[in-house]
């Protein structure tokens, strides 16, 4: 009974738990419900992962109504990977939330925080698992609306502006996506993704298909914060509560990247179609611009969270760079970087949350000597920072290696050189934080700061351990990514 309804449970568990949390007035009970629901969702996606690995694509008819009339949930190697990443990162962050949320959020609003956290999780999982185009829009808006609220709960008043800005940009993005879906629906008469993937190639060279493609490209690029559509991201991540920053940075943009892969590769007909459009060229230029411009901007930030937010834009640039190359190796690099960047950035934001918890500062200049006061926190931060650089033995190396190999296979040695060069810019902004933290005498609030409590350190520590584990033993992460990449290149469903 439970085993056959796993795809529905994946979304239903966090959704129902969110409704329960909304009825509570104390943060403590809400946290327990959220923790249970989140770990249950992770268990469900693990079970789905095993099922997909054994039997291939799982198709689930919502309410017993046959597709294409009913809504289908379809789980294959691509989205089960994203489901696992999202639920795992959310499940690791949640134990951290108890201490951090108690310190950062008003007691009367704590249960609302967990409600929004679970709604956002349900929305992200829904976007990933569903096989229905309009369902994607609805779940996307569920996750977006709840993430606006999560961001607005930050203590700084600029969090409100960040949330408002994100609301405007996010809604334009979602509306563009729904326009694209509407055009496809008018052309084909179906909203089922599998049906779309079989009917669109028959339409041939149709102007409406191309305009649908354009609307989807811009809409999804807004959601995944592709340069230069990233303007909403830095303020949103910089002023949100620590837990919300870590959660959104680790998961939200990754789901948008999945949507891009799903639409452009699976539905429109694999790598062959993608290569015919002007998309690879545009994406290549914009990705490189994202990597370099956002990294350079990150160097000049004085707010640590804003610096990490710009670094997110740059890291997303690596993912879209792999997509623009559109070979199997490059796509494997992109897909595995969805996991790798999620681990790194969520971990980095968690350690910044530790600093905020103990010292209450996020300006890099005020962090002098924090490495002596909070040695474990800064050690974790440093390891993840080195991973972003792509030091061998960490996850960051694996993704960059695959991107480099893909570029070399195409004979684009200039691109290999640019990827190496971009790591040097990363070194500048990561190195600046390390220099301030370790090589200056503590002063101000930092001098009184103690090491963060274990409840905050352990979740961050798990993410550090995972970044090293997947950096050395890639059998789990990379094999999944390679299977997904093969499906994407073929455009198979």
């Amino acid at each position: 009974m439970i085993a056959s309804n796993l795809p529905a449970l994946q979304v239903a568990i966090p959704l129902i738990a969110a409704a329960l949390c909304a009825m509570l007035r104390t943060g403590e009970t809400a946290w327990k419900i959220a923790l249970f629901a989140n770990w249950a969702a992770f268990a469900v996606s693990l079970a789905l992962g095993i099922e997909v690995a054994q039997y291939g694509t799982v198709s689930y008819m919502m309410g017993g109504w046959e597709a294409p009339l009913g809504i289908e949930y379809r789980v294959d190697a691509i989205n089960v990977f994203v489901l696992l990443v999202v639920t795992a990162i959310a499940a690791i962050i949640l134990p951290y939330a108890r201490t951090s949320v108690a310190a950062e959020i008003d007691p009367t609003r704590q249960s609302w925080f967990y409600t929004m956290y679970l709604l956002c999780l349900a929305g992200l999982l829904g976007v990933t698992i569903t096989g229905d185009a309009f369902n994607i829009f609805v779940f996307l808006e569920i996750s977006s609306l709840s993430s606006y609220v999560l961001i607005a709960m930050g203590r700084d008043r600029r969090a409100l502006l960040g949330a408002y800005q994100y609301l405007i940009m996010g809604t334009i993005g979602a509306t563009f996506i729904v326009i694209g879906i509407g055009l496809l629906w008018t052309l084909t008469g179906t909203l089922n993704l599998y049906d779309l993937s079989t009917r669109i190639p028959d339409l041939g060279d149709n102007a409406a298909v191309l305009s649908a493609l354009a609307f989807l490209a811009v809409g999804i690029s807004l959601k995944l914060a592709l340069f230069p559509l990233h303007a909403w991201l830095p303020n949103a991540y910089a002023y949100a509560p620590s837990v919300a920053s870590a959660f959104l940075a680790g998961t939200a943009t990754k789901v948008a990247i999945y949507l891009f892969l799903r639409f452009f590769f699976t539905i429109f007909g694999g790598e062959a179609f993608f290569e015919e459009t002007p998309m690879p060229g545009i994406f290549l230029v914009l990705s490189l611009a994202a990597v370099f411009v956002a990294s350079v901007v990150a160097v000049f930030q004085d707010n640590l969270k804003r610096m990490l937010a710009y670094s997110s834009v740059a890291q997303i640039g690596y993912i879209t760079l792999g997509i623009s190359l559109a070979t199997e190796t490059a796509l494997a690099g992109s897909v595995v970087h969805i996991l790798n960047h999620g681990l790194m950035k969520a971990g980095l934001f968690l350690f910044v949350g530790c600093i905020v918890f103990r010292a209450g500062v996020v300006r890099i200049n005020e962090l002098a000597g924090i490495g002596r006061q909070m040695p474990l926190t800064m050690a974790g931060f440093t390891v993840l920072g080195l991973s972003m650089l792509g030091v061998p033995g960490t996850v960051g190396f694996i993704s960059k290696w695959y991107l480099g190999v893909a570029a070399a296979e195409l004979g684009w040695w200039w691109l290999v050189a640019l990827i190496v060069l971009s790591s040097l810019v990363t070194l500048v902004y990561v190195g600046r934080v390390i220099e301030v933290a370790y090589f200056r005498a503590p002063s101000g609030p930092v001098a009184q700061a103690r090491e963060a409590p274990p409840s905050l350190l352990i979740p961050g520590g798990i993410l550090v351990a995972a970044s090293i584990w997947f950096g050395i033993d890639t059998s789990l992460s990379l094999d999944g990514a390679l299977v997904a990449a093969r499906l994407l290149v073929e455009g198979a469903f």
């Binding site: 607005a152 408002y164 609301l167 405007i168």
Partner: protein, 117 residues
């Protein structure tokens, strides 16, 4: 002119879409931006619903008297989209109220000036 008339529903959609987007981009007042956003979203409702209408068609009633009927699916979809639109507008306005409490203004340039560079 005769070419345009058969597709006048699409023209209305496109004009509303552009008017809405223009208001979002060009206005500095946060409430006016949200009004623009609402117009932009409303144009999409038309995009979905108008192709579903068949001239002379009725509601989908199972009866031998009616053979031609309009597609009911877009209405159901757009009902959901309207709910989403209302939720977005309500949340946006709530944020503007909070911004007004925190900054004493809802003009974008004044608010950004208040925080300094």
């Amino acid at each position: 002119m005769t070419d345009l008339l058969p597709h006048f529903n699409h023209w209305v959609t496109v004009i509303l879409m552009v008017v809405g987007l223009y208001a979002v981009v060009a206005r500095g007042n946060m409430v006016k931006k949200l009004v623009g956003l609402a117009i932009f979203q409303t144009s999409v409702y038309l995009l979905y619903i108008s192709p579903g209408k068949i001239l002379g068609g009725t509601a989908p009633i199972l009866s031998e008297a009616y053979t031609v009927y309009s597609n009911p699916l877009p209405h159901v979809l757009i009902l959901t989209a309207i709910v989403v639109g209302i939720a977005t507008l309500a949340l946006g306005l709530a944020l503007v109220v909070r911004i007004n409490e925190a900054y004493g203004s809802i003009e974008e340039d004044e608010v950004h000036e208040a925080d300094g560079p």
